[in-house]
C-alpha cells in the first residue's frame, strides 16, 4: 500500500463481508422454504427472503467494487484519493440506506413499505432485483455520483492507466444504466425491455469491465508481468465482452412480447459471450505462468485464477447451455436459470471481490505483503469449500431444472408446477446441504482474518 487514503477501502470490505454473511443466511432460509413450504411462514414469506438475498448480494458487491476502486485507483494514479472524507461519508450513507431498506423488507409488509416511502409518486418498486423503494434508488444515484466524482477527480489529477480508465468506464456505465430503473411504464413489454438495460447491461456488460480491470490490477501486482502486456489483454477482453454482450441482450427478448428476430440476433451474439471469458481464463493462467516473481500472497493468486475459471464455467458454459432460442424455449424461467445465476455471480463477481480483499486486506491491516502462512492456508480451505459447494449447488439445480423442464413442459402430459416441485424435492435437499457447506466455507473465510495474527508473514519459500 503506497497511499494513506487507500485505507478507506477497508471499511467497504468489512461491510461487504458482513452483508455477504446475511445474503448466505437468507439463501439457506429460501433453500429450506423450497422443501418445507411453511418454514417461517407467514413471518418471512419467500418473496421477502428472496428480496433480502438478492438485494444483499447486489449491495455487498457494490460495496466490494467501491472498496476495490478506492484501493486500486490511488495506487494506479500514483496520488492520494481526491477526497477521503467524502468516501467515508458516502460509506455511512450507503450503509444506512442499505440497512434501512433491508429492515424495511423484514419488518413491514412490502405494500406498507411502498406506502411509507410514497412509491405512488414515482412507482419503481416491485420489479425483480429493483425492489428497493424509490427513495433508496435515488440515494444509490447520489452515492454513485459522489463516488464517481471522487474516483474521477483522483484519476484526473494522477497517472492515467488503462486499468483505471476501464474501471472508470465500467463504474460510469453502472451508474448510467441504473437510471433505467426509474422507467416503469404500465406496458409490461416496454417495462421488461428496459428493465434488462439495467440487469443485462450490468452483469453481462459494464460489470465485466470492472471485473476485468480489478483482475488486471491483481495480475500486475502479483505476477510482475509487464503492464503493457496485461493492458493489451484487458482491452481485447473488454472489447469482446461488449461486442458480444450488447447485442447479446437479445437472449432476453425471445418470449416477452418482443419480435421474433431477436431469437436469431440474441442466439448468435450471446452464443459468443463465452469467448471473452475463455480469453480471460487463458490470459490469467498465461500471466501467472509467465510471472517474474513469486508473490507471497498465494491466497490472492488462487482467488484471481479461481475467478477466471469459475466465471468461464458459470457465465460462459452454463450461460451457453440455455442461450440458444430453441433450447431456451423450454428452459426459460426454470431452475436451469437459477443454476446459471448462482455459478455466474459467484464466479465472476463474488470471487473477484474476494480476490481484491485477499490481496489488499493484509496491507491495510499493517502487513508488508500478505498474511501468515496459517491464515492463508485457512483462506485457501475456504476457497475450495465455497467453490466446490457452488459447483454442486449448480449441478443440483441443473438436475432439478432438467427434470422440471421435462415434467412440466416437454412430456406428453405436462404436470402442474406444484406437482413437479414435489417430485424434484430430492434435488432441493441436496442443494441445501451444499449450501450448508458453503456457509462452513464462509465461516472459515471470516475466521482466517483472526488466526495467525501474531505469526510472521508468509514468505515466498514458505508459500511454496
Amino acid at each position: 500500500m503506497k497511499y494513506e487514503s487507500q485505507k478507506v477501502a477497508k471499511l467497504y470490505f468489512v461491510a461487504a463481508i458482513g452483508l455477504f454473511v446475511g445474503q448466505i443466511l437468507f439463501g439457506l432460509v429460501m433453500g429450506l422454504q423450497y422443501i418445507v413450504g411453511d418454514f417461517l411462514f407467514p413471518e418471512i414469506p419467500f418473496n421477502v427472503a428472496r428480496m433480502v438475498h438478492t438485494n444483499l448480494l447486489i449491495v455487498w458487491l457494490l460495496f466490494g467494487f467501491m472498496g476495490a476502486a478506492y484501493y486500486l485507483v490511488p495506487e494506479e494514479a500514483e496520488t492520494e484519493l481526491f477526497a477521503p472524507w467524502l468516501a467515508k461519508l458516502m460509506f455511512w450513507i450507503f450503509l444506512a440506506a442499505g440497512a434501512a431498506t433491508i429492515l424495511g423488507y423484514l419488518l413491514v409488509p412490502y405494500a406498507t413499505l411502498a406506502e411509507l416511502t410514497m412509491n405512488d409518486l414515482l412507482p419503481t418498486m416491485g420489479r425483480e432485483f429493483l425492489e428497493q423503494p424509490t427513495i433508496t434508488k435515488l440515494g444509490i444515484v447520489v452515492v454513485a455520483l459522489a463516488f464517481l466524482f471522487n474516483i474521477g477527480m483522483t484519476i484526473l489529477k494522477g497517472r492515467k492507466t488503462v486499468v483505471n480508465l476501464v474501471l472508470l468506464m465500467g463504474l460510469t456505465g453502472l451508474a448510467v444504466f441504473f437510471l433505467f430503473s426509474f422507467y416503469n411504464p404500465v406496458n409490461v413489454v416496454m417495462d421488461k425491455y428496459y428493465w434488462w438495460w439495467v440487469v443485462h447491461l450490468w452483469v453481462e456488460g459494464v460489470w465485466e469491465l470492472i471485473l476485468g480491470s480489478i483482475l488486471a490490477f491483481i495480475l500486475i501486482k502479483t505476477t510482475g508481468v509487464d503492464r503493457e502486456v496485461i493492458e493489451k489483454w484487458l482491452y481485447i477482453i473488454v472489447a469482446m465482452t461488449l461486442i458480444t454482450g450488447i447485442i447479446g441482450t437479445g437472449h432476453h427478448y425471445y418470449w416477452i412480447g418482443t419480435p421474433a428476430f431477436w431469437q436469431w440476433w440474441g442466439s448468435i451474439f450471446s452464443a459468443m459471450e463465452p469467448i471473452p471469458f475463455f480469453m480471460m481464463t487463458v490470459y490469467a493462467f498465461n500471466m501467472v505462468n509467465k510471472r517474474r516473481r513469486n508473490h507471497p500472497n498465494k491466497a490472492a493468486v488462487l482467488w484471481a485464477l479461481g475467478t477466471a475459471v469459475m466465471a468461464f464455467l458459470g457465465a460462459g458454459v452454463w450461460g451457453f447451455l440455455h442461450t440458444l432460442a430453441p433450447v431456451n424455449y423450454y428452459t426459460h424461467g426454470t431452475q436451469i436459470t437459477a443454476a446459471h445465476g448462482h455459478m455466474a455471480f459467484y464466479g465472476a463477481y463474488v470471487m473477484i471481490v474476494l480476490a481484491m480483499i485477499s490481496y489488499s486486506m493484509p496491507m491495510m491491516r499493517g502487513r508488508e505483503a500478505c498474511n501468515s502462512a496459517r491464515a492463508q492456508s485457512m483462506e485457501m480451505w475456504s476457497f475450495w469449500l465455497m467453490t466446490i459447494s457452488i459447483i454442486f449447488i449448480t449441478l443440483f439445480l441443473t438436475g432439478a431444472g432438467i427434470l422440471q423442464v421435462y415434467l412440466q413442459r416437454f412430456s406428453d402430459n405436462p404436470m402442474p408446477f406444484m406437482v413437479v416441485q414435489e417430485k424434484i424435492t430430492l434435488f432441493y435437499w441436496l442443494r441445501e446441504i451444499a449450501g450448508l457447506v458453503f456457509l462452513l466455507g464462509l465461516v472459515l473465510y471470516i475466521a482466517s482474518f483472526f488466526v495467525g495474527k501474531n505469526e510472521p508473514e508468509a514468505t515466498v519459500e514458505l508459500a511454496k
Binding site: M30, F41, P45, F46, A114, G126, I236, P259, W262, F417
Partner: protein, 143 residues
C-alpha cells in the same frame, strides 16, 4: 513485422467495436418499438390494468412467481394464468381464499387482504398480460 500488435490497436478495437455494436443495438431497439403496437396488447391497457400492475408490484408478486418467465421460480408462471384458470373470477377467488397462516408443511401464497377493487384490477392486469404475443411461449399451459 515491425509491431505485432500494439496497445493502441487494442484500444481502438474496444472503442470502435463498442460504439459500433451499441449503435446497432439502438437500431434494433428502434425496430422493436415499431413492431410493438401489434404485439404488446397495448389496446387492453386502461386504468384498471394500471392499478392492477401497481397492486402486482406493491405486493412483490414477482418475488415468488414468474411473469413471462421472469421472476422467482418458487410459484407458478402467471403470464398465462388467465388462460389456465379460464376467467378473472377464478383468479380473484384464488387470491382471496389464501389462508392467513399458510398450509402446514407446504408452500402457500400469503393472504394479502386486497380490496375487491384491487382484486379485480390485478386479475384484469393478468388478463392483459395473457394477451401479449410471446412467440408461443410457454410450451405447455402449465407454464
Amino acid at each position: 513485422m515491425a509491431q505485432a500488435f500494439t496497445k493502441a490497436m487494442a484500444r481502438n478495437i474496444f472503442y470502435v467495436g463498442t460504439l459500433f455494436f451499441f449503435l446497432l443495438f439502438l437500431a434494433l431497439t428502434f425496430q422493436t418499438h415499431s413492431t410493438l403496437p401489434d404485439r404488446d396488447n397495448r389496446q387492453a391497457i386502461n386504468d384498471t390494468v394500471a392499478l392492477g400492475k401497481k397492486v402486482w408490484e406493491q405486493n412483490d408478486c414477482i418475488g415468488c412467481h414468474t411473469l413471462l418467465g421472469e421472476g422467482a421460480y418458487f410459484a407458478p408462471e402467471l403470464g398465462n394464468v388467465y388462460k389456465r384458470f379460464g376467467s378473472t373470477d377464478a383468479i380473484k377467488a384464488f387470491i382471496a381464499s389464501r389462508p392467513k397462516d399458510g398450509i402446514p408443511g407446504r408452500r402457500s401464497m400469503p393472504q394479502f387482504n386486497l380490496s375487491d377493487e384491487e382484486l379485480t384490477a390485478v386479475a384484469e392486469f393478468l388478463k392483459y398480460v395473457s394477451g401479449i404475443k410471446t412467440n408461443n411461449w410457454p410450451p405447455s399451459p402449465q407454464g
